[in-house]
C-alpha cells in the first residue's frame, strides 16, 4: 500500500507539473488577451513532433532548446498574422480561429508524420532507472521531467515578479487598458506572450513525447482539461494555475488507485444497493472510473460558488 501511495504521489505530481507547463502559457494568454486558445494543446503536440524530428537529425538536447523556440516563433506568427486580424471581430471569432487552427495543425501533423505513433525515444543518457522502491523502478527521465518543469516554474516566477517585462505583463493581466494608456505597445506584448506561451507548451511536448506517446491524438486528450486548470486556478493567477495543476494531477492519479464504488459505501453502511432503474449503474461505478469526471465537476462547482476561481481576482 505504501508503495502505491509513494508512486501515485510521484506520478500525480509529475502529471500535474506537465499540466502546469501547458496551463501557465494558456493562463497568460487567456487572462491577458481573453482568447480561449483551443489550439494550445496543438502547440504542445507540435513541440513533441519537432522534438522527435530534431532529435532524429541532431540530438535530444538540441531539440529541447530548438523545438520550443521554433514553436514559439510559429505561435508568434499565428498571433501576428492571424489572431490580430481576428481580434477586432471579438472573442468568439478568436476562439473559432483557434478551433480551425487545431484542425489544421492536427491534419498537417498527420500528413507529415503519419497517423501512427512515432518512435520518439528517451535519450540514452537518461535511459536508466533512477531508483528502485519495493521492486518498482522509477525511470530517470521522469525525474528529469519533474526537474525541468519545476525549474521552468521558478524561472517564470522570477521573470514575472522581477523583470520589467514581467511587471508589464502582470499589469496587463489586471488592467490591460491602463497599460495601453501608459504607452506600452500592448499588441507587441500580446505577441510575445502568445509566442512564449506556445513555447512553454512545446517544452512540455518535447519532454512528454518520449515518456508518453507522440501521436496525432495527443492534443485532443489534453485540450479541455487545460481550461479546467486555468479557470479553476483563477484567471490571471499563475500560483492558482500551479495549485490547480497539482491538485488535478494528484486527484486523477489517486482516483485510479482506489477501487471503491458508491454501492460499496452503501453496503458498508448496511444498506442494500439499488439494482433497479436507469441510475442503477451509478452504484456500480468505482472511484477509478469517476476519476476523469472529477475535474469537470470541480470546475462547475467552483464557478458556481466562487466565480473568480481559486486564486483569481476577476471574472473575465
Amino acid at each position: 500500500m505504501l508503495e502505491l501511495v509513494i508512486f501515485s504521489t510521484l506520478n500525480g505530481v509529475l502529471y500535474g507539473m506537465l499540466l502546469f507547463l501547458l496551463a501557465s502559457g494558456l493562463t497568460l494568454i487567456f487572462s491577458m488577451m481573453g482568447v480561449l486558445n483551443f489550439a494550445h494543446a496543438s502547440f504542445y503536440m507540435l513541440g513533441a513532433y519537432f522534438g522527435f524530428q530534431l532529435s532524429q537529425w541532431l540530438n535530444f538536447w538540441t531539440a529541447l532548446i530548438v523545438a520550443p523556440v521554433l514553436v514559439g516563433l510559429i505561435g508568434a506568427g499565428v498571433e501576428r498574422w492571424g489572431l490580430r486580424t481576428v481580434h477586432k471581430w471579438g472573442h468568439v471569432a478568436e476562439l473559432l480561429f483557434t478551433f480551425g487552427l487545431a484542425f489544421v495543425i492536427e491534419e498537417l501533423v498527420q500528413m507529415v508524420w503519419g497517423k501512427l505513433p512515432v518512435d520518439y525515444r528517451v535519450p540514452p543518457l537518461l535511459d536508466f532507472p533512477a531508483f528502485e522502491l519495493f521492486g518498482t523502478t522509477y525511470p530517470a527521465f521522469r525525474m528529469f521531467m519533474l526537474l525541468i518543469s519545476v525549474a521552468i516554474f521558478l524561472v517564470l516566477l522570477m521573470v514575472l515578479t522581477r523583470s520589467r517585462i514581467g511587471l508589464i505583463i502582470q499589469a496587463a493581466l489586471s488592467h490591460p487598458n491602463m497599460v495601453a494608456m501608459l504607452g506600452h505597445n500592448v499588441p507587441k506584448v500580446f505577441m510575445l506572450v502568445f509566442g512564449c506561451g506556445c513555447g512553454l507548451a512545446a517544452i512540455a511536448g518535447v519532454i512528454a513525447g518520449p515518456a508518453l506517446v507522440t501521436q496525432p491524438s495527443m492534443a485532443h486528450v489534453l485540450g479541455p482539461i487545460l481550461f479546467v486548470v486555468v479557470v479553476f486556478g483563477g484567471l490571471g493567477s499563475l500560483p492558482g494555475a500551479f495549485i490547480a495543476s497539482l491538485l488535478i494531477g494528484l486527484i486523477q492519479t489517486f482516483a485510479i488507485a482506489i477501487n471503491y464504488s458508491l454501492g460499496d459505501a452503501l453496503a458498508s453502511l448496511g444498506m442494500a444497493r439499488p439494482l433497479q432503474g436507469v441510475l442503477s449503474d451509478l452504484w456500480q461505478v468505482t472511484v477509478a472510473q469517476i476519476g476523469p469526471v472529477v475535474p469537470y465537476l470541480m470546475l462547475v462547482l467552483i464557478l458556481v460558488f466562487r466565480p473568480t476561481g481559486l486564486m483569481g481576482t476577476r471574472e473575465s
Binding site: 500500500m1 508503495e3 502505491l4 508512486f7 501515485s8 506520478n11 500525480g12 502529471y15 498527420q110 503519419g114 497517423k115 501512427l116 505513433p117 518512435d119 525515444r121 532507472p129 528502485e132 521492486g135 518498482t136 523502478t137 522509477y138 525511470p139 521522469r142 512528454a208 515518456a211 508518453l212 506517446v213 501521436q215 496525432p216 491524438s217 495527443m218 486528450v221 489534453l222 486523477q252 492519479t253 485510479i256 488507485a257 468505482t286 477509478a288 472510473q289 476523469p292
Partner: protein, 416 residues
C-alpha cells in the same frame, strides 16, 4: 457520387475503363468498404482497404463472380455510428449490396440495425453486412441477424482459446484484468472472469480494472496498481494507443508479467513492444499470422508485402471472407444477397493453413483454429517481421476449432 479509390484500385479502374471501350460494358459487383479512413483509427481502416483491394484483384483475375467483375468502393465513417448509417446509405445509393465494416462495436451495432431495417423496409433490395473485425459477442447472440456474417472470432471465442492455453501454464497464479470501459472491454472482462474461474479455479484474479477508452495519456498509475497487486499475468483487450501506452508504462516501471492481449499486433503495437524490450512476454490471440508455417501462407504474405510497402497481411479473415463470398455467389449463380446468403450459411472452407473451418448456420459466426503467438526476434523458420522491427510473431500454441466452440443464444429470424 464521388468516392475515394485507392492505388491499385485506380489502376484497375483505368484498365477496366480501357477494356470497357473494347468489350461491351460489364456490370460491376460493388463491395462497399465502410471504416474509419480519417482520424486516429485511420491507419487500421486504410490497411483494411488494401486487404480488400488485394482480394478483389485476385478474384477478378480468376474471372470475377458470375462473369462480372468486383469493384471496391470506400467510405469513411469516422468511427461514428451515425456516420456509418449515412455511409451505408451512400453505398447503397452507389449500387452496392454487399457492405463490409470492421472497426468499432458501436459502428457495427449501428450497421446491423441499419441493415435489418433497410431490408425489412425495402423488399427486393436486400443488402448484406459482412463483418470482418467487430467482435462484440452480442452480434451473433442476442443481436444476431440473418443479414450479418462474422469472420472474426468474437471475444468470447478468443477468451475460450486464451484460457485453454493458460490451463496448461501452471506458472500462472495471479491474473490482472485491465480493459477499456466500453462494451467490448466489458465483454472481455466478463468472459475472462467466468472462463478463468471455470478452467483454473486455483488462479486468483487480483485486479479487474476498467479505464476510459483512448483518453489516458499516462498509464503509470495503472501499472503501479498492477505491480502492487502482485500479478504475474495481465489479460487485456486494449487496442490502439491504449495497448501501446500500457506496455510502455509497464516497461518503464520494470513490471515483469506476461501479457495476454487481443490486439498487441495492431498498428504501432509491435513497434511499442520492441521499443520497450518485452521479448517473449507479449502474447496475442488471432486466427493466424504471418509466420504460420505453410508454404501457401508464406507465398501469400510475400506477395502482399510486395504490394503494400512491406506491411503485413493483418487480417487472414479478409481472405476467408472474400473467398467464401465469391464461392457463395458463384454457387448460387446470383449476386443477390437474398439468394447467396443462403449458401454462406453453414459453408465449409479450407483455410490457407490447411485445416477446415466453417460458418455456423445458427448464428452466422465463423469457427476456425485460433493461434496464440508472441513477438520475438526473428529466428529459425520465422520469415516475416512486423513494422520493420526485426521482431515477428511466433506460434506459442494452436487451439483447435473444437476447443473454442462456444454456444449461442441466437434465435435467427429467417426473412420470408
Amino acid at each position: 457520387m464521388p468516392t475515394r479509390r485507392y492505388g491499385t484500385g485506380l489502376a484497375v479502374a483505368a484498365l477496366a475503363a480501357g477494356l470497357g471501350l473494347a468489350a461491351p460494358a460489364m456490370a460491376q459487383v460493388k463491395i462497399a468498404f465502410i471504416d474509419p479512413l480519417s482520424g486516429a483509427m485511420a491507419p487500421i481502416g486504410e490497411h483494411g482497404v488494401k486487404h480488400f483491394q488485394y482480394m478483389i484483384d485476385k478474384i477478378n483475375a480468376k474471372g470475377g463472380v458470375n462473369g462480372q467483375k468486383m469493384e471496391l468502393i470506400t467510405f469513411d465513417n469516422k468511427l461514428s455510428p451515425q456516420e456509418t448509417v449515412i455511409a451505408a446509405q451512400k453505398a447503397i445509393d452507389a449500387g452496392a449490396r454487399i457492405l463490409t465494416l470492421g472497426n468499432g462495436s458501436g459502428a457495427a451495432a449501428a450497421m446491423i440495425d441499419f441493415v435489418n431495417k433497410h431490408n425489412d423496409r425495402n423488399p427486393g433490395k436486400e443488402v448484406v453486412y459482412l463483418n470482418y473485425a467487430a467482435v462484440d459477442p452480442a452480434f451473433t447472440n442476442d443481436k444476431c441477424s440473418y443479414w450479418h456474417f462474422r469472420w472474426d472470432a468474437h471475444s468470447d471465442i478468443k477468451m475460450q482459446a486464451l484460457t485453454s492455453y493458460m490451463k496448461g501454464k501452471p506458472g500462472i497464479k495471479k491474473v490482472y484484468l485491465i480493459n477499456q470501459d466500453y462494451s467490448f472491454g466489458h465483454a472481455v472482462r466478463k468472459a475472462a472472469n467466468e472462463m478463468v474461474k471455470a478452467k483454473r479455479p486455483d488462479v486468483q484474479i487480483v485486479g479487474d480494472e476498467l479505464h476510459p477508452l483512448a483518453k489516458i495519456t499516462d498509464f503509470a498509475p495503472y501499472v503501479a496498481k498492477i505491480k502492487a497487486s502482485g500479478a504475474d499475468s495481465v489479460i487485456t483487450g486494449n487496442w490502439g494507443s491504449d495497448i501501446a501506452l500500457l506496455l510502455k508504462a509497464a516497461a518503464d516501471a520494470n513490471l515483469q508479467v506476461d501479457w495476454y492481449t487481443y490486439y498487441a499486433g495492431g498498428a504501432g503495437g509491435p513497434t511499442a513492444i520492441k521499443q520497450t524490450g518485452l521479448k517473449d512476454r507479449v502474447f496475442q490471440i488471432t486466427e493466424g499470422h504471418a509466420n504460420v508455417n505453410t508454404p501457401e501462407n508464406h507465398a501469400w504474405e510475400q506477395d502482399f508485402r510486395k504490394k503494400s510497402a512491406g506491411q503485413g497481411w493483418w487480417y487472414p479473415r479478409v481472405r476467408n471472407e472474400m473467398e467464401m463470398l465469391a464461392k457463395a455467389m458463384n454457387e448460387a449463380k446470383s449476386n443477390n444477397p437474398k439468394v447467396f446468403a443462403e449458401k454462406l450459411r453453414g459453408m465449409k472452407y479450407k483455410l490457407i493453413y490447411g485445416t477446415e473451418a466453417y460458418m455456423r448456420a445458427e448464428d452466422h459466426q465463423f469457427f476456425q483454429d485460433m493461434y496464440i503467438s508472441n513477438l520475438t526476434p526473428l529466428a529459425g523458420d520465422m520469415k516475416f517481421d512486423e513494422e520493420n522491427t526485426g521482431w515477428g510473431w511466433r506460434t506459442a500454441a494452436k487451439i483447435p476449432m473444437g476447443n473454442t466452440d462456444v454456444p449461442t443464444t441466437c434465435k435467427m429470424a429467417k426473412p420470408s
